[in-house]
């Protein structure tokens, strides 16, 4: 039978291989230029894998130091992921000035509320403050992604295949992290191997989603997102719509007056 630690090591190796595959895909498809922060996040994750592998081979370090360094690298990875998320949101919504202005405020509010709630659960204990802070950030990221997609869905803002895949991968990983961490929070010490393995499994799923999307990506997808209305048509449409609405409104007011007279 395969030992849990062997299984975890295999999963770890698979993750690093997939990370490198995604790295190659992003460079080859020139996506690193379009999504520089996502690319930086991937680089940070690869470096984290290397750093943690080296760290666990250092037998002269005590457990607490290893734990602190490992979580510090995780903090960097989470920070980079939140930057990648901000970049994704900006790419999807920023060309719609009004919607972006409203959405960015809402994202800030949602993220702040979720992090504040999660940090309140720490009750001032610093160990839990770091762990809960990371969980809060993960949950906030998932909430922001869902808010962004709901916005895009409501306003019918086009989201291309790659952007969807990035959002799905980021959201699924973050949601799974929160569920995993919250459910196993109490018994994490006894089931650390399982906890790590489940976390790696969720990340592998996200990596596969991203690799698939990066593989299918065509530059025309980005071009297809350009606004459908030219400034000339936009101006014409605006004044025309305005006139129609004035007429409609006047008509409605007249009708209401008519109705009052009837009553």
């Amino acid at each position: 039978m395969v030992e849990p630690l062997q299984l975890q090591a295999a999963a770890w190796a698979l993750t690093t291989t997939l990370e490198l595959a995604l790295f190659v895909q992003l460079v080859r498809g020139k996506l690193a230029r379009i999504y520089p922060l996502f690319f930086s996040y991937l680089v940070a994750v690869i470096l984290q894998s290397i750093a943690v592998a080296v760290l666990y081979r250092q037998t002269n370090l005590d457990k607490l130091t290893v734990w602190k360094i490992a979580w510090a690298t995780q903090g960097v990875a989470v920070l980079m992921r939140s930057l990648a998320l901000a970049e994704l949101n900006r790419r999807v919504l920023s060309r719609y000035v009004g919607i972006w202005a409203l959405a960015s405020r809402l994202f800030f509010f949602v993220a702040a509320a979720v992090i504040a709630y999660d940090l309140a659960l720490s009750r001032g204990k610093w160990q839990w403050l770091i762990l809960n802070g990371i969980r809060g950030l993960e949950l906030a990221m998932a909430a922001v992604i869902v808010t962004m997609l709901i916005f895009a869905h409501y306003y019918r803002v086009p989201v291309n295949h790659l952007q969807r895949a990035l959002a799905v991968g980021l959201c699924l990983y973050s949601s799974f992290y929160v569920i995993n961490y919250s459910l196993l929070e109490r018994i994490v010490q006894q089931h650390a191997v399982l906890w790590n393995f489940l976390g790696i499994f969720a990340f592998i799923a996200s990596l596969l989603v991203w690799i698939g999307a990066a593989n299918r990506y065509a530059e025309s997808e980005e071009l297809a997102l350009s606004p459908a209305i030219s400034p000339e048509l936009h101006g014409k449409l605006s004044s025309e719509v305005n006139t129609r609405l004035y007429l409609l409104n006047r008509q409605l007011i007249q009708l209401l007056r008519l109705k009052d007279r009837n009553q």
Binding site: G98, D118, A142, I150, R156, E240, V241, R244
Partner: protein, 190 residues
């Protein structure tokens, strides 16, 4: 596990569900810009509201009872209620169309106010509830006048909001064309 932690897990699960919901393709594709023109130029169903309200007035058919034609009066009232129900469907369709136009305008507008969007959302929920309520009232043969007034008020509200949004777009377009006009460049800029 404490209640706040359970709430966090439930919230995460809710987010996954919402993610799946938000990834669905839209029920109707967004109308191209020229279709909006066409939609706005069509005659509004609101303009027939006074006729519908008049037709539903009991006094309008009461004379048939006085002449002893009760069966005819009931048939007429039933038919008028059916027409009113049909009218209600058209009114709802029109309202949804206005909402769609407002969404399209929000996409083009340089400024979208949260309060206005929230107001529009509340309006659409209120309109749907009132429509359902009115439908049942009509089916049960009750007097629906106050409901119709409420619906037409809502249509006016949304039209007013659209008017404000289009005014902002027009203003921004004018500003944009002014700034891009030759001779408007900053003297110091290269």
């Amino acid at each position: 596990m404490s209640l706040p932690t359970i709430l966090l897990v439930l919230f995460a699960l809710l987010l996954v569900t919402l993610l799946a919901w938000a990834l669905r393709p839209p029920a109707r594709p967004l109308k191209p810009a020229l279709d909006v023109f066409e939609a706005l130029s069509r005659p509004r169903h609101c303009s027939r509201i006074s006729h519908v309200v008049q037709a539903l007035q009991p006094e309008d058919t009461e004379y048939l009872r006085e002449t002893g034609q009760v069966a005819l009066m009931q048939t007429l009232r039933l038919q008028r209620r059916r027409i009113a129900l049909n009218y209600l469907d058209q009114l709802q369709e029109e309202f949804e169309e206005l909402l769609e136009i407002s969404r399209m305008l929000a996409v083009m507008s340089p400024q979208v106010t949260g309060m206005q969007e929230m107001e529009r959302w509340k309006l659409s929920v209120g309109f749907a509830v009132n429509c359902a309520f009115l439908r049942w009232k009509l089916r049960l043969g009750l007097q629906p006048f106050s409901g119709f007034t409420l619906l037409s008020n809502m249509a006016t509200d949304i039209a007013r909001q659209l008017e404000m949004a289009t005014a902002r777009i027009a203003e921004a377009t004018v500003r944009g064309s002014e700034s891009s006009a030759p001779g408007n460049e900053n003297i110091g800029s290269r």
